[in-house]
Amino acid sequence: MSDVQNRIAARVVPHIPPGAVVNLGIGIPTLVADHLPDADAVFLQTENGLLGVGPTPAPEDVDPDLVHAGKQPVTARPGASYFASSASFGMIRGGHVGIAVLGALQIDAQGRIANWALPGKPVLGVGGAMDLLVGAKRVIVATTHTAKDGSAKIVAECTFPLTALRPVDVVVTEAATFTVENGELVLVDLADGVTLDWVREHTAAPFRTALRNPARHEESIDHA
């Protein structure tokens, strides 16, 4: 995983309070586990049937029966439990998972996301994305600010198929953090060295600006 992806993952960490039950999606969200200051203080749930996901094992300790939803080997922490898929999604849809961290292909002006299918391509995989988006108490998107071709991922309207009608709560990129409040995006944080103008240029949806630490940003803008 790249430096940018790790920076995004690290920027998600302040949004995860101690004691939270958290489901991490595949990709950048998975990296969040590596950046938690006290991994024992958070309970990671994986939808293939484990609450209490622990760190990646050493190669000699890999158990073929113990993987996370990305099918990579994991361990189980003390206090972990295993359960069937139906129970796992009961936890998710039933609102018992506090936070889901998901990747996104696009985010619209209302905070709704597209993260499972591309337009014009056969739709052959969805996994647990729709259930997590519908059921988790809070949803945090962890994504690069722009697509690989440089185009905006935060757009007025998604051109990719939506994953759910429910808006997410927080969008974290390497450059900025937005919250979704009353159906609109609110820019609340800029990463060090990132200017408001850069975010405006690389965001194709309207947003309100309410920086939580403006002094720090003025300083960073001066140095930019």
Binding site: V62, D65, S85, S86, R93, V123, L124, G125, V126, A164
Partner: protein, 234 residues
Amino acid sequence: MSQTNSATRDRSLVRGAAEAVALIRPGATLMVGGFGLVGAPLTVIEALCESPDARDLTVISNNLGEPGRGLGRLLLEGRVRKAIGSYFTSNPDVVRAHAEGRLEIDLLPQGTLAESIRAGGAGIGGFYTKTGLGTLLGEGCEERVIRGERYLFRESLHADVALVRARVADELGNLVYSKTARNFNPDMATAADLVIAEVDEIVPVGALDPEAIVTPHLFVDHLVLSTTARGAGK
């Protein structure tokens, strides 16, 4: 079709893999446990690939294995007509078979898949869920407003035969699973007319802690001893 499994037993449940899969007829609907290859009944699937009657199958499973492995091999053998599951893009052979019109796919959100199976095993005809509402996967579903929120109706799923994987069985067919290899297996063990469980070990009745049994024996018809290595992650 399900055998009465709680009555006095005059015959062992243990079968060879080939003998067990010979019960699967052309055109059958199968549920197959596993999350990728983890918790997939690989010995039984291998036997299925060798069984001439196992063709024109509808397979209900989260994925269709990996290229050439598990259900991925069954697909390459041309035995699968239709797949119902949640995540097929991890096996490029599935994407190709679908593009070439050789494989019909019914895609469900993973939680809807799991609940459809659970409901099917519990005698429930269908259920309402918010998952998929307003998306491509919710198109055509009946809607209902419950406590002020919109829900989609989903029918439950049922199969002719379920192929599941557990770690250990007792001679009655009580099953205990292993870690995340449990996944869809316990739900599928409830939702088919005939249930074949592949296990690493078969122990005498009384050797399993009743508190630890996940699938009670009345669901299980046949036991097959596994001879393949457990399916690891990627």
